[in-house]
């Protein structure tokens, strides 16, 4: 927002309180900022407001019908009620309708970042289960890809996946087929993701509010014991520096979710950051120090022996060839502390600048 627009502050009446807003803000944004709880299912703040779920409707004085707050620009002097009895009833009915087309199931949070949204709203809004019974929509796709579960029985056609793929990722791999109750989220020619423009970035999974799209890799851990914990860190691959939440259960790293507020990525990841984490607890990991024996083979030893041997080798070379004969290569993949100690090792240890990193690889 530019400075002139920011200067233009107006006010409206929100639930009997005067609140100010900037030109261009929607009623929903104003209500959010004012701490009102306005439910939504199709809203993702990164995406253009869509107005599909209608849960965010509010009563606008002077308007015949409630308006969708997410798509209605705030205007000076508006009088808005976010939570009248009538509005609450409409929201409940809408949620009951949504619930009626989904199988009763609590969704494991491993499926995705937003996967609990529907369930949470159902609980919060006093929804009567079993109302409006009838046919359920969506046909699950037998896609055999190892990353993204496409369980459309749980799909509520909020189009967040379609929109995130287009607007955020720019891949346009996901689309909606048919119309009305027959609407089906799918790909070009209703095929597997592998045969589409999909790059398996996982953004659709993470914005899905019902877990209809699920993170298959994380879901491997559904039966593991322990609480699901999240730890904020940074993706270990390229230099963009996407923030991630590491999902762990007890000692196991079970999945990755993008940080929605990560400054570099704002909720985005790519296939590597999203799905390529098994290396961490892979059986090939080095778990013990190794030193080369007289037989020419590497043998597992304990740390003391290995470190002594490492130090000894440098001592010998120093003695025989002088301090410039020792060279250090730091890693562009390890933390700053690794690179710093490595250069300090060379500079403080040998008084040289025989240090580099692997950026020239």
């Amino acid at each position: 927002m530019n400075a002139t627009a920011e200067a233009q502050t107006h006010t409206l009446i929100l639930d009997d309180t005067e609140v100010s807003f900037h030109e261009g803000e929607t009623i929903y944004e104003v209500a959010q900022r004012a701490g009102r709880e306005v439910p939504t299912l199709c809203y993702d703040k990164r995406l253009e407001a869509f107005g599909a779920c209608r849960l965010c409707v509010v009563q606008l004085e002077g308007a015949r019908n409630p308006v969708a707050s997410c798509t209605t620009p705030a205007e000076a002097g508006m009088v808005v009620h976010t939570s009248t009895e009538a509005i609450k009833k409409h929201r409940r009915t809408l949620l009951e309708l949504v619930a009626s087309e989904n199988p009763e199931a609590t969704i494991n949070p491993l499926r995705g970042f937003a996967s609990q949204e529907l369930n949470e709203l159902l609980c919060k809004n006093d929804v009567q289960p079993g109302r409006f019974q009838g046919q359920q929509s969506g046909t699950s796709n037998g896609d055999d890809n190892p990353f993204i579960l496409r369980d459309y029985d749980h799909c509520i056609s909020c189009y967040r996946c379609v929109r995130v793929c287009a607007e955020q990722e720019g891949d346009y791999a996901i689309t909606m087929m048919n119309r009305g109750f027959e609407t089906q989220i799918t790909t070009e020619f209703n095929n597997r993701l592998k045969d589409s423009a999909c790059t398996f970035c996982g953004q659709c999974v993470q914005t899905c509010p019902t877990g209809a799209l699920g993170d298959r890799k994380a879901m491997r851990a559904e039966s593991l014991p322990g609480e699901l914990e999240k730890t904020r860190s940074v993706c270990p691959y390229c230099g963009v520096g996407c923030q991630v939440d590491l999902l762990s259960k007890e000692d196991r790293l079970v999945g990755i979710q993008p940080a929605m507020d990560g400054p570099a990525n704002e909720g985005a990841l790519c296939i590597k950051g999203q799905f390529a984490f098994d290396f961490v607890q892979h059986e090939d990991r080095l778990t013990k120090p190794l030193v080369r024996g007289d037989d020419g083979e590497l043998h597992e030893v304990d740390w003391n022996i290995a470190l002594d041997r490492a130090a000894e080798g440098f001592r010998k070379v120093l003695k025989k060839h002088g301090r410039h004969a020792v060279y250090g290569v730091a890693s562009g993949r390890a933390p700053n502390e690794a690179a710093y100690t490595m250069q300090k090792f060379i500079r403080a240890g040998f008084g040289t600048n025989q240090i580099d990193n692997c950026s020239r690889a």
Binding site: H90, L97, V98, Q135, T175, M177, N178
Partner: protein
Amino acid sequence: MSRDTDTELVNQWRKEPAPLLPLLHAFQNRDSYLTENALRCVSDALKIPLAELFGTVTFYHHFSREENGQSKPRVCDGPVCRFRGTENLLDALNAKPMPCAGRCDSPVPVLQGNEVLIGSDANSLKPLPSPLPPPNPGGIEECVFAHIREEGRATIEGYQKTGGYAALKKALCDFPENLVALISESKLAGRGGAGFPTGKKWEMVAQAEGNPKTIVCNADEGEPGCFKDRTLLDYDPHATLEGMILAAYATGATRGFIYLRYEYPDTMRILERAIAEAKDTGLLGQNIGGKAGFDFEIYIRRGAGAYICGEEGSLLNSLEGKHPFPRNRPPFPVTHGFEDLPTVVNNVETFSAAPPIVKHGADWYQSLGLGEHVGTKAVSLSGDIQRPGNYEVPFGLPLKTLLHDWAGGPPSGQSIQAVSMAGLSGGFLGGSDLDEVTLDEPSIRSKGAFLGAAGIMVFDDRRNMVDVAHNAMAFFAEESCGKCFPCRIGTHRLTERLNGSGGPATESEWHTEVDDIGDTMMATSACGLGMAAPNITRSLQKYFPEQVAAHLQSVSR
């Protein structure tokens, strides 16, 4: 016949405005369905992502993804036709049903390839021109039908001979602002159903920033029981063209589209000829009517079978080659219409009314209504009635006058049980209301219905109104675009409650559920479809509670 190559088709359309629909039609006409290769070509040519294009194609009823899909016959199963042979035709032709195709005044239409055949059984099917409006029965002065019955009116010579394009000539001698003022003064309101003041709309577009501006004629007459636009375009196409040209002059627009429903292929040919004639006569193109700098072109864009495309936001998305969901409003088309630029969207009938108004003056148009009411309305009357057809009525005419005096009443021996309003969108009127209402919005709205596009279908006492309501709701469910939750789920749940496949069996619970769904749909749906569909159940509950009770009994049994 040589087949056009992919490249030829693509090159023919790529640089044209609003190219997606015609390019898809071109491929479908060539291959009889839309092949994977065709979609890849179109995606590549128009830079529409393949997945998006695929999804959009599947949205439309008449784009086929099956081999020979286009030549497969489609039989109208609209509310009128289904009582006049739809089922037989479906069986006999091994055909697919299609929603009301706008021939309720001469059922039953069968669409095969790009031809419409008419008949009530497979043997009697033949091409048949659409019926003219019956001779003016009330002797009341008409506006849009005043000259429609005159021989040769569809040609430019015939049109001009009976006073056509005189209005344009007159307008061009004056400032555009004065044309806008005249239309405003006449109080002409959108005759497609929404009733927005036409002069105001033109004025807003004239004043809006951004060029080029666009005039869109909504000829996607998809409301079941409505067929007035078809008649207007078939017999008086130049009136609509003249209305559009007037709108262009009034607003400074330079391009125009007629968005014509797929089910009117004959109309398409008539319009193509009319546009060519107007071009040849210097009434379209550059320096129109000799007025330097007044340039305007009209393009026909044929829909592909989607009721929602009659909604202006969907229509504009469809024209632009996007998925035809309705648009969020604001902003409105007057500032952010076609390609996000200022756009007039008016119905065929509205444009047709403009030339006579310009010719005869604002006072004249105002005086056409009865009592306080202004102007006239073309009504499509069909169903169980002696003389179905299009009637131009003055606003304020009693419904019973139209039904009994003008159209001859119900078939002999029957009585009228209900009529639908606004096609299906207004729901039904029944009982004593049939005798009480007059044909104008205040009167009809006071009964919980609305006149809208003024399709009126008559149901006599032989009809099971729950079945009629179910067919109507199934139509809305089929045509719901799927964007907003209340409509997508609500229309389907109401359909299930009308055919007994879902919902509670006890009467009070049934009514509560139907009321709750309907209330929320009306209050929260994103466009008119979802807001209007519950009029069906509401009016059914209001006028025919015993039939509902009987239905629930039969379901529980």
